[in-house]
Each structure stands twice: as structure tokens, then as C-alpha cells.
């Protein structure tokens, strides 16, 4: 795995930098981890499609030399489903945010997981809507402040890992932007996994979440991430899941994958070998 400081320019579109992300934002660390994972796997950038939604995370594909499909709010996985079925030979990596994947795109998220579509999903979870100015997200913890919950959120939050597991994802992992060595390994693992693979990355938004909740600047927020989470070994019990915020790989199973099942169906119905 490329170490920090190593040249990732084969995968990064440096002429589009600096990025739109605020100083201290964790999204750049995640983008670097994706580039490091692609470098590690030695994929031809032209054979990879990075599919993004709308929001801060959705801007990621512009900073890559791979193919990029920057889609609409919440629908990245629906675009990816059509693309992957049409072109199973292309590697599809979906980048999405917590609002993008779990609010407006929640339906596509659970259905892509249910189908066990062969895509890797990197979910940037900063617990808030960043690009629109710090509103409450479905991941905002109870009691946390946002510009639409200044007195503290009263809605229970979604847990992306539990949601993906319940929906049928065959690979489910969580890490944080504090875990800079582990993050690219998990992303590479997810990209190589033959099925729907989720890596949820807890990331810091010092501009909104940090400021509104008095969590300090990026360094303090990274330590806060570390303290919020606990490395866990799969299989994890429901009690452990409920007790804190475990990180690690929670599921890695080989199950029938959608594009392969579809190809088998075509073959059974008499389609040609290149169908």
C-alpha cells in the first residue's frame, strides 16, 4: 500500500486542485485513500469509473484521472446499477455522503445492497450536510446541533453499517479518517470484493459539525473520532454494536452477485457467449 507522501498522480487530477473542501475537512484524506487503494490494486484509470452523488463527497470524482460520473443528489447508486450491468468489465466505485446515501438516496442504497451489486461504496459520514451549510442529517446523533437542530437533534440516527447489513450487503466495514493506515486497505478490500461492499468512513467537518458542537478544529476532531470508536473483530454481536461505534470489517461473505446472476440468466435463456 502506498505510504503517505508517495506519488499518486497516476490517479489524481491535480490540475483540478485545490479542492472545494474546507481546510481541515476529512474528505481529502478519504480521496487520498481511494487513490492509494487504486494504486495498490494497479488498476488502469481508464477502466475505473468513480460515481459520485451531490454534496461535498460527490465532488471527489473530479479529482481523479479515472472516468467520472458526477450524478444527481442521492442517485449515484442507481446510475451505477445501470452502468455496471451494461459494463460488468468496468470497476465501479461509488462515493457518497451520509445525506446523499441515507436520506435522499436511502432507497437506492438498500436496493443496491439487496441486489448485491458488484460496486464498492465509500460513504463519507460527517454527520451533517456540509455543502448546504450545516443542516441535520439522518446520521446526526440525538442531541447534536446543526443549523436545523440548534437545540439538539431529537431524531434517532441511522447506522449505515447496520442498515447495509440488514439490506443484504455482502461486505461491510467502517473506519475513520483518524485511521489513515487502515482506510486505504479497507477500500482496496472493498473494491476487490465481488459484491456490494460498503466502507463507511467517519470524517470530520470542522466548519459546521465541529463548530456547532464545540468539538474544536480538525486535530481535536480526529482525536474525538478515535475516542468515539473501538476496533472490533467480526462477527460482532448486537450488544457490541449497540454499545459503541465499532470499526473494522463486520461482514465479508461471498453471495450471488447481481451482474453474474444476470449473465447466468441470459445464458440459460440462450443468449450468446458474449452476452
Amino acid at each position: 500500500m502506498p505510504r503517505i507522501g508517495e506519488d499518486l498522480q497516476r490517479y489524481l487530477r491535480t490540475e483540478m486542485m485545490p479542492t472545494v473542501w474546507c481546510p481541515g475537512c476529512g474528505h481529502g484524506n478519504i480521496a487520498r485513500a481511494i487513490a492509494a487503494a487504486l494504486e495498490h490494486l494497479a488498476y488502469d484509470p481508464e477502466r475505473v469509473v468513480l460515481v459520485g452523488g451531490i454534496g461535498c463527497s460527490g465532488r471527489t470524482p473530479f479529482y481523479f484521472r479515472t472516468n467520472a460520473l458526477h450524478t444527481t443528489h442521492g442517485r449515484a447508486l442507481a446510475f451505477a446499477t445501470g452502468l455496471k450491468l451494461a459494463r460488468p468489465d468496468l470497476k465501479v466505485v461509488v462515493v457518497t455522503g451520509d445525506g446523499d446515501a441515507l436520506a435522499i438516496g436511502g432507497n437506492h442504497f438498500i436496493h443496491a445492497a439487496r441486489r448485491n451489486l458488484d460496486v464498492a461504496v465509500v460513504l463519507y459520514n460527517n454527520s451533517i450536510y456540509g455543502m448546504t451549510g450545516g443542516q441535520q442529517a439522518p446520521t446526526t446523533p440525538v442531541g447534536a446541533r446543526s443549523t436545523t437542530s440548534l437545540s439538539g437533534a431529537i431524531e434517532p440516527a441511522f447506522d449505515a453499517v447496520e442498515l447495509a447489513m440488514a439490506a443484504g450487503a455482502s461486505y461491510v466495514a467502517r473506519t475513520t479518517t483518524f485511521d489513515v493506515q487502515e482506510m486505504p486497505l479497507l477500500i482496496a478490500d472493498a473494491i476487490e470484493h465481488p459484491g456490494f461492499a460498503l466502507v463507511e468512513v467517519l470524517t470530520q467537518c470542522p466548519t459546521y459539525y465541529g463548530r456547532l458542537n464545540r468539538l474544536g478544529e480538525a486535530p481535536e476532531m480526529l482525536l474525538w473520532e478515535r475516542d468515539q470508536t473501538e476496533p472490533a473483530q467480526a462477527p460482532i454481536t448486537r450488544e457490541e454494536m449497540a454499545a459503541g461505534r465499532p470499526i473494522g470489517v463486520f461482514r465479508r461473505e461471498v453471495r450471488p452477485e447481481f451482474t453474474r446472476s444476470y449473465a447466468a440468466l441470459c445464458e440459460r435463456l440462450g443468449a450468446g457467449a458474449d452476452g
Binding site: 467520472a68 442507481a78 445501470g82 452502468l83 432507497n107 444476470y262 452476452g275
Partner: protein, 375 residues
Amino acid sequence: MRLVMGNEAVALGALAAGCDFYAGYPITPASEILEGMAHLLPPRGGVFLQMEDELGALAAVVGAAWGGARAMTATAGPGFSLMQEHIGYAAITQTPCVVVDVQRGGPSTGLPTLPSQGDAMQARWGTHGDRPAIVLTAASVREAYDATIRAFALAEQYRQPVVLLLDAVVAHMREPVDLPPPPPPSRQRPRPSAEPPFGEHPFTPFGSGRAVVVTGLSHDDEGLPRTGSARASERMLRATEARMAADPALGGLTSYRLDGARLAVLSYGVTARVARAAIDALRGAGQAVGGLELTVLWPFPEQGVVDLAGQVDAILVPELNLGQMVLPVRAAVAGRCRVESLGRADGTLFQPDDLVAAVRAMPHDSPVGREARHA
């Protein structure tokens, strides 16, 4: 020659056009297209995908198109409303694809399965922002087949989403037609291209030998959202619209017994068939009435309507809505003759007698109207 349903003709037309990807969601009265493609595509090695909603269906179609597929979806009123965002996305990303909308009464859940022509304006203006639009329609099973093939050709020619508007009657009726068997599947592979992927350049899906950036943000010809890209997107939209407007092959008008007519019925879809019956009856009674039928709603075939306004004293525009296509008709006519709207949105068709009566009630400053009034 065999009896074919309109929706079945759409599926067969799609195969004839080389369609190898369909994504959809069940909705009446369009479901036979979904079911037809579910049956037809897998044995050919094409992709059939039933998505979780209509937003997802058109998203999958656009994603597949960037994978190099000839892709389409079909839906009806409420589903068409949900697809508007991605029609705009396909427009700004210059993605060729086909959207069939079998209209049904609205707004909202409205009149499921009952015929309507209520989406004529939504098909043109439903997405936010401006876009060049091609919207076809059909009045028979054969026309539905041909229009589907044409929709794919136009989508590729202009690199834009093309909408085919049907109504529940054309979609559900069976007519004897002679259709050729579907050609064998031919999977096109993207050809290498060194040209920029957007603007006036050819469509270069993923896998054309260079990485492509696709975004719904305003972008330059390289696909990147950078300084000045708003101007580049506006230039692309204007240029595409101008090419459509200057294309005589787009056509869009069929005349029916217009020789010597002093009064015209301008109609489309199932209403055009009712109009023919009414025109025959009026002609039989000695009245100089003819018809002009729209087969392309957008870009609106303006010149043909201007020419008609120079010939007749009045134009009746019957539609199964409360008056939509009458608006561009009025704009084109610009006072050269009288234009009357006759709309209904109660889920029932016009009967020929309704149109006969409406023509006879046309204003009496026209010779025909005067004659009708005294008849």
C-alpha cells in the same frame, strides 16, 4: 400481418433500433413495455432491469448509456414527473437515451389507465432550466413502432434524451401490422476517440480509450466544471437547439384532406384519429375542412402551422388536456387566423360528433363557420 398492441410495438421497435438496455418501474398504462422487454432482452443478451422507482430507472438508463448501451425506459404520468430531473441530467450531459411516456390523466395519481394528452408541456418544459427537446408522438400501432425506432436515431444524432409520448388508447389497442422480425443483437463497442467528449463532438462513452468526466454541473467540452463552463454549457444547449430547428428531416406534420380547406383541425395522437372521422363526416356534408396532425410535438413544427394559418380562416385544436399544444399553435399563428381550443381531461375520448359540432360552432366571420351556422 398480426395483431400487435401499441406497447408491444414500442418494445419491438426498440429491438429493431438496437436497444440493448431497458430499466423501468411498473406503472399502468405502460407496464406492457416493461414486461415485453423483460421477456425479449435477456435471451438476446441485453439488459433488463426493474428498478426501485422511476428516478432510479432513468438514472440506470443514463448510466448504461455511458457504458455504451442503447438504453431506454418507459413510464406513465406520475413516473414521468419523477423522471424530470434525470431528463435534465441527460440533456446537460448530452446522453442519448429514449423515454417513453404513456400519458394518463393527471395531475397526481389522477386517472390511472384512462387516456390523456396531459404531458405535452411537461415533456417540453418539465425539468428545471432550459434544454433542447425532441418529443415524438404516434396515433397508431404502426406509428408507435416507427416512432420508437426514430427516437433512438434522433437521440444519437443529437446526443439528447428523446421522449415518445403515447396515450393509453394507442398503447393498449391492437391493430394488424406487418412488422419485420427483430434483427439479431449487435453489441456496439465504444470506438476510440481523441476528441473532447462534449459540445459539438461525438458521444464517447466510458471505455473509448480515454477517461471521461461526466457531470450535471455546467461544464466545458472536456466535461470539467471550471471557470467559463457556464458559457460552454449555454453554447451547447443553443447549438443543439439550433441544429434541431434547422433540420428539415425532423418534420412533424401530416396533412389530411387539407386541399381547399378553409377550416382546419390540428390534432395529435389518438385525437388525430377522431379528427379524421370528423373531417370525413364534414367533407361528406360539403364543408371545406381538413386536418393537420402533429407527429413531432417538439421542436414545434412552426412553419407548417404558419403556412396553414395563411390558408384557413380558423383552426380547431382538440386535445385530451385543458389546452396545451394550442399555446404554440397560437404563438405560431400570431393572429393570422382564429385558433380555438377544445380540451377535455375527464379520461374519455372525443367522439367524432364532438369535433363535428365544435367545427360547426366555429366563429361566423369565416365562410365555413357562417355556412355551418346556417346549416
